[in-house]
Symmetry: C2
Subunit: 646 residues, 2 copies
């Protein structure tokens, strides 16, 4: 009998033959095995397990707190901040809950949507805050159900600030965070990891410090998995609190909340809200420089670094939680100086994974969305099952349509004016379009003196890997082979290679050369003649906006173009060129001409008509050179094509 | 939504985006795609589709007819003949049906069991003959159900010889082959491919030639897919028959039955049974040499070759069916001289596939059974699903127990006396066991002057690939590292490599070096110390008969040790070292010491006690060198071990 469930880790079938198998001096601790290759063990763990693993291994970690933005453009910025700060390797981020801001709604600025975007689109382990006072059980349950549906797995259970001046306990209602913890455990069993707040100086409303410690213990006993503390100004404050907690039997992780002082006003505001007192020695430094933001920030960084060092050196602290105030500089600086900002260019897979629990096993994607991973995630969000190990095996793709190119998490980071500067206030010919592509690749200024740092198909500057192909790409773009995606061939580089490596160390990574571009029908006609010579060495798919499709893919099978071989594991093949998905991608790729570029110009304007002409008449082409150990022949294919045309 | 069914080829999801995708000058004919990589298209086709594909491509094919053996040892011989003749590339074999021989039973000599063994254990496309006269519908249905259950997909529907002298039609019964064809189509719809017999000279009992042609057409109209003819002596006989069939509207394939004359008596017997007349010109040659078997066979080969050439040259014949009389030499010779014996050392996968329809998608196996594929098939015959693309993904292995080491299709081809000559009439020490292993590897005579051509774990001489490692293997076996399985590392050889290649051309194959052996606990202790130095480079599993198990496999994951990269396809990884399966294999590997070797000797004899001691005290070890691009380090591991011991 064969286990058909891809997702469960089943205990190995018991039988006479493995009855005695788990003894022996170095035997594996258990005989269960996971049905998917564990490339990145943390990807399969809950947050509390990740914390435990880090504690056991001694790897110090950090986490980052953000609040939801007020405006839609703020949301766009916050999401790109998630991407940038996510690169430093936080164990998790958390998003605060503001009852006044409609936090559970579908607005792009709601806590719920921001947290969900962090999980699903930025691949970050995320904690959603939730406050309970002045809310009904049904409201709370509704929020929790929605959070679960969106793939959120962690809740920070808080009381929140009472609405009125004089707060009254409600019978039957939620009066304390502990009520929310109990409610989550009652209604959702062990689904969520629950975090609660600790107050190193005692909660301002508690009778006293000891009573507050007892409340904290109640929250843990009710089912909280770990504690994050309120900010504090001296390491002794936290270390005393930690010992006091342990003394009354609190054994779960307690994470210090670090607040790098970033400015005079933000400090004052926070102090007022938290009812904390700033120590005199800090006031003494800050007051004289209160109008010098840079000086205050430098001081704040110093202060945070030295406090964090004391905490870490105590041996009792395994992770640090940062109150970022949605700013990058200070926190990043503190982490870099602590040596905890681990911007490792290597990745578990060549593409950014999503943190939604149902995508845990996902380890294959079509190459087409390589520069638009958020769009791929969006268009596959309704899938119940994800390709695991093989594309053809588990996925008959039904991609959601992408109608709204303006969803905040898919939107270009650049405003219209900047795009016009990059892509041309006025286009005069197809060649002026070629020039935009060429400038994007070469990094040279365009004729109006602007650098082209993004394209409709690539919202970021050229990847380091693509730089390997820069010279050739530049040459072909100049001649109207408008490239939007490419990768060099790789014949077994170490998995630790800083540019092309991914996955665990000790392995080897491979790639087939890939080139994807838009081009005119004249060039396609010549190209097809040239491709005949290359027979099975080169696979091609050529399609226009109407869906006229020309391919030599055998039996419409996917072609693996990136794979890795690792010690003691099955082979991972995370990227494929899939003929079926290509037809879904082509709709998006063609639409981006119009949605992102043509619409910058007036209707009926010559610029818009040039883009429209390209959209209507060009073909989207992808080429794979199957002979990865030899020199990439795709440049020769293009050269042969131009030679035939001349 | 994702298609969860691994086995069906589903049409690609229809959507706006692929609405126009099938137009264009070179577009794929249909938009369906198979969920498994089509490495070997024929593996997924029915026999009639394979015939059509060969006819379309112009590749001439041949098939081989066998009859069931009379004795159990005859069955063992026939199965190894299937293996040898299967290597020449027949499109199918067929097994005749002898009502007197209990053909539908579970006896090892029954037609049913022989045909099932050909399909399941030898991986041959197989037609089971079935006769219907003197049988009830229920009996016939029972046979057909059993055939289906066993994985047989093709039936040759025959009337059979009536039991009595004067044959009487039975009302309601099966009187003609056409009744059986109809019955199969009624009861089993399109499940079986059906073949019927054609008589180039007319059936001996038919009123006349024309009436017989009409009967043949009836059989085809009733649902037969193709026709194999009775033997004949002149190509004109067949070609006339073929034209006559076509003239009355028979359009299915008609395959000539070729009978290479192999001896005077067998010819006379066949002629008597088939009521054919031997042409005078043949009689004139044969009669004078009737006592010279070799001369007759040479003449028979000549005759068959020239007749086959005429048939093939006519352009109307695409395949040849050979009546082998269960003999190899003449048919093989004819085929070789025709250039149709395609003993291609390359294989679709590195191991021999089974032809059972439910194993069609199987493309991963543990390496342990590499030399015992029939035992692997036997122990997994109850599986409903087979690993496809990844081992860990689809298989939580529950292996059937192997209790009966004497099943005819698992049995050694050599009788006890020969085994004793090879493995020692009398063993005097563990070292005399080392010597047997060493002689098997080196090919040298043992001290009694016999060549060791098989071992309990390898019933065949050393594989060509293993020869690459011969020198080192010999050295370590001499010192008590008793190797039973190994492969060299390979870093991207062409898939057409004559020794290690497999799969379609244009690809590259890879391997990690593998070594599996029995050895003493002293050596294991030293080995473990040495292995520490190699860290993750070498994965090991070490187990004794009691199941004490020592491994460094991460999370009990399987390790892919053979894989191939092909144009336009996903990666195929057909062989894994799987920690869980290893524990099932170790039972079998240890049991073979006793079942195949110890039991050759008297109980309590010193020889038997030596084998028993090894069985009880040695460890089974496997080692994988993960660093396939570097020189195999496993020999260094063994050298280091011996150095540590000295």
């Amino acid at each position: 009998m064969v286990n058909e469930n891809q997702h469960t880790c089943s205990a190995s079938s018991s039988s006479k033959s493995d009855g005695g198998s788990s003894s022996g001096s170095e035997s594996s601790k258990d005989s269960s095995r996971c049905s998917t290759p564990v490339l990145d063990a943390e990807r399969h763990e809950r947050l509390r397990e990740k914390m435990r693993r880090r504690q056991d291994s001694g790897d110090k970690w950090f986490s980052l707190e953000f609040f939801p933005p007020r405006t839609a453009s703020g949301a766009v910025n916050l999401i790109s901040r998630f991407d940038r700060m996510g690169a430093g390797g936080p164990l998790f981020v958390d998003v605060t809950w503001h009852p006044a801001g409609d936090p559970g709604s579908d607005k792009e600025t709601s806590s719920m949507v921001i947290a969900s975007t962090a999980v699903n689109y930025c691949g970050l382990e995320t904690i959603l805050h939730m406050t309970c006072c002045n809310q009904t059980k049904d409201e709370i349950t509704g929020h929790l159900q929605k959070a679960k549906r969106l793939g959120l797995k962690n809740i920070m259970a808080l009381r929140g600030d009472p609405a009125g001046e004089e707060w009254q306990e409600e019978v039957e209602g939620f009066n304390y965070a502990v009520d929310l913890v109990k409610h989550i455990r009652n209604e959702f069993d062990d689904y969520f990891d629950i975090c609660v707040a600790g107050y190193p100086k005692g909660h301002p409303e508690a009778e006293n410090y000891e009573a507050d410690l007892r409340h904290l213990k109640e929250k843990v006993l009710a089912g909280a998995d770990f504690i994050i503390t309120q900010l504090f100004f001296r390491s002794e404050t936290f270390l005393k609190f930690l010992k006091d907690c342990q003394a009354i039997g609190i054994t779960c992780p307690i994470v210090p909340g670090i607040f790098p002082i970033q400015g005079y006003h933000s400090l004052r505001q926070l102090v007022r809200l938290s009812k904390l007192e700033v120590p005199q020695e800090i006031k003494d430094v800050i007051e004289p420089i209160k109008d010098n933001d840079a000086a205050i920030r430098n001081y704040g960084v110093e202060l945070a670094v030295s406090m964090c060092r004391e905490l870490l050196d105590s041996g009792m602290v395994h992770g640090l939680h940062f109150y970022t105030l949605n700013r990058e500089v200070a926190t990043t600086e503190v982490l870099k100086r602590l040596g905890m900002w681990t911007e490792d260019p290597r990745r578990p897979l060549p593409w950014a994974v999503s943190a939604h629990p149902k995508r845990r096993v996902e380890d294959v994607r079509p190459i087409f969305w390589a520069s638009r991973p958020k769009s791929y995630i969006y268009r596959t969000q309704e899938w119940d099952d994800f390709p695991n190990g093989r594309w053809g095996n588990s996925s008959s793709p039904a991609f959601g349509e992408l109608k709204d190119y303006y969803l905040f998490y898919l939107k270009s980071k650049s405003p219209r004016e900047e795009l016009l500067k990059m892509w041309g206030e006025e286009l005069t010919s197809e060649e002026s379009v070629f020039e935009v592509f060429t400038c994007y690749i070469s990094g040279e200024l365009n004729k109006n003196g602007h650098r082209v740092t993004c394209m409709p198909w690539n919202d970021d500057p050229l990847a380091t890997e693509t730089n390997l192909l820069k010279e050739q790409l530049e040459k072909v773009n100049r001649r109207g082979i408008l490239t939007i995606n490419s990768q060099p061939n790789i014949n077994g580089k170490p998995s630790t290679d800083p540019i092309v490596g991914w996955g665990p160390s000790g392995g080897y990574v491979f790639q087939k050369a890939y080139l994807e571009f838009f081009t005119s029908s004249e060039i396609v006609t010549a190209l097809l003649k040239v491709l005949k010579k290359y027979e099975t060495r080169v696979n091609y798919h050529i399609v226009n906006v109407k869906g006229q499709n020309i391919t030599n893919a055998p039996d419409l099978q996917p072609n693996a173009v990136t794979w890795g071989i690792f010690p003691g594991r099955e082979i991972i093949q995370p990227t494929v060129v899939d003929p079926v998905s290509f037809l879904f991608w082509k709709d998006e790729a063609f639409a981006l001409w119009i949605e992102q570029w043509a619409k910058l110009y007036e209707e009926e304007s010559p610029s818009r008509m040039i883009i429209q002409y390209i959209h209507d008449n060009y073909y989207l082409v992808n080429l794979v050179d199957n002979d990865f150990p030899l020199e990439n022949c795709l440049w020769q294919v293009v050269d042969d094509t131009f030679e035939l045309l001349n």
